[in-house]
Symmetry: C2
Amino acid sequence: MLNKSILNELQDLVGKDRCLTAPEDLMVYSHDVFCQSKPDVVILPTTTEEVSRILKIANREKIPVTPRGSATGLSGMCVPAQGGIVMAMSKMNKILEVNPEDRLAIAEPGVITNDLQVAVEAVGSFYPPDPASQTICQLGGNVATNAGGPRCVKYGVTRDYLLGLEAVLPSGEVVKAGGRPIKNVTGYDVTRLLCGSEGTLAVITKIIVKLIAKPEARRTLLVAFRSIDDASTTVSRIMAAGIVPRALELMDQRYIRNCENMYHLGLPTDAAAMLIIEVDGFAETVDRQANIAREFCENEGAFDIRLAQTEAEADRMWYARKIGSVALYRLSKTMVTEDATVPISQIPAMVRRLNEIEKKYNMVIYLLAHAGDGNMHPLMTYDPGNKDEAERVDNIIREIFEASIALGGTLTGEHGIGLAKKPFMHLEISPAELDLWKNIKKSFDPKGIMNPGKFV
Amino acid sequence: MLNKSILNELQDLVGKDRCLTAPEDLMVYSHDVFCQSKPDVVILPTTTEEVSRILKIANREKIPVTPRGSATGLSGMCVPAQGGIVMAMSKMNKILEVNPEDRLAIAEPGVITNDLQVAVEAVGSFYPPDPASQTICQLGGNVATNAGGPRCVKYGVTRDYLLGLEAVLPSGEVVKAGGRPIKNVTGYDVTRLLCGSEGTLAVITKIIVKLIAKPEARRTLLVAFRSIDDASTTVSRIMAAGIVPRALELMDQRYIRNCENMYHLGLPTDAAAMLIIEVDGFAETVDRQANIAREFCENEGAFDIRLAQTEAEADRMWYARKIGSVALYRLSKTMVTEDATVPISQIPAMVRRLNEIEKKYNMVIYLLAHAGDGNMHPLMTYDPGNKDEAERVDNIIREIFEASIALGGTLTGEHGIGLAKKPFMHLEISPAELDLWKNIKKSFDPKGIMNPGKFV
């Protein structure tokens, strides 16, 4: 608990309506999708100056500060593990500039990702990163977690679109990193060090993103396979051929059937696995790209290949991918999804390992994957109150991570470490590497107030 | 000078033939293109293990260590400002893997950039970064300086192609950062922190780069304008339209005439400025892209538009850009080139500022630019022995930097800080930002042995 005089100081600074301590407010701001821990106070700053003044107080008093966007994360990154202040950035939500001539946009961290995308597409520009939560998540959270999404297989992740940041250090100092120019090698790349730092280094208060030209056309294919091995082999063949689709998503039979049961989208429920393949670019190239992808699918025995004839049909195909996992919540008390990521050539091996693991533990693993970049999303439903089931889930998660690392992969392709993957970091990271991270953390945050209790 | 017993220890470690102290060897390894400072010893390691053992000795004895590639840099980044050890990476020059299926290649730091490019293009892949020195520079140097090049306007810089690194800390600890997966958000982005760190943090010993598909076709245009303002306006119009050329290079009349005098390439010497515009992609799109670019040029009054009919003709156009600046060396004792970079929309303003500055100081500023990303390369020839001329050059450089910063630009788009731009860092970087960099530096290198005397 914060002592009364500090709380008063914070309330004097931003007003009581933006410095919340009611139990119901603390509850609302205590969780992300899967993890939970209660803060002592929730502050909603509106300016960089306020962020700086709050951090000065927190640093003086050694109060934990956990920055938070829309809390759509899946690993507990924005959950205040050690209480203290949750700094919710949702009121710093202005788009400050959209500039197609300089190929950039500038936004505050609380801007909803999709709002920025709509604004830049209105002037013919494009901001590619598209996490599944894009209609509710905030840009600041995307930067802090280096968010990905289906389109990232072709266009890269959040990190690849950052030109510069403004951030406030725990000391209250405001620093700029990068800036407006497309090319910039002045000094250390603090921009990308902050990107993916999960709120452990500083509070991001302004974001300059690079824009690209909006692709003229797209073609969307939904393809059914007789075996998941055929589907995953197709993925690695397509990627090796250099036809980089805008998205290349894999779903297995159980996922498809469960999704179809709930949403009645007309999915091929007889397929052992299904791919959604989307290509884009100049209008005159998309049919050829789609045909090349189709050929690869046919070569691996695809038995049902549908090309979306309208935007609406394409959107319906994406519906299965984007919210199909929600249908899993009906099956048990909760759900867990991982994002172990392997080199593309190892996708078939990883799929086989998942099959072995589910047999060993007698649990169903639903499979969804941003397959084009090796980013697997195995899903399980279970009852956390059932001790035996919860234990099996824990073991499966551990074995999934071990399998991923053994295949040259990583613990997390896009969800982040947060609280959920902290126990597994030693599988990927050496003591020397962790020591280095701790030293980097200290160089920003000597008193350790930024999001303590997390990966570093 | 190193004391004799340390020198013996180093020579015992790698052998005398890779631990050089002869005056002529020290001379050879004392400079880059523009800067010079002599080391006490030059060591050429062949393995990560050797690098680690050398660094342990250097760290114990607090001996400066400056890693070095081919020394094609222009700012003194690999020049040992405080003597000590130059660690030349040229013997760690193996391409370890080219893997189009996983879209990656793995190489040691001493691999020549162009050798890697040839190797990956042989299997239909593409590694875009193309610094002008690509046929002689080393990949490790490219990473340490975040090297750019003409193609970076479309494809991004070295940083954008790094999946992972192996590096040795000053303590001798070997650390990995990133890895084989395309997507990876495990922990801090040490990969990109090392990229562009100019040898001040660690020695890079292995590099994993991302590959993309080799573009099927290109079209190259050489376009002559009646004024440099027309040419620079064309650049910002093309970029705003979202036709992102693979390269968009600007040269002014003096540069063109001097180049033509030496090489007789048939350049339009009556043009006030010339653009090289190159588009690439799927075969069916390049003519349309070239036509759109042509239209923009015509709208701004271009009077001579040549489309290369053969690869050889395109290469001849590029010849003017790639080695034309060498022709400037004939005009005086030496040459200096800067790389102040501005937002694209500010190119015309920056060009006007350069005109004012050259009039004020009565010096000729030749202009070359990666115009598509606002990366200006003003060039001057002068006699450093002529005090008045050298002083005017110093003043011009300062005013160029001031102009760039005032227009929202940066000191360096791709050449780096090194020694040359250290005096101007305060124009762009606040004391708080510099303090942060110093803290980051300490987190890697507490004793300050890595490339001391540089930007941090």
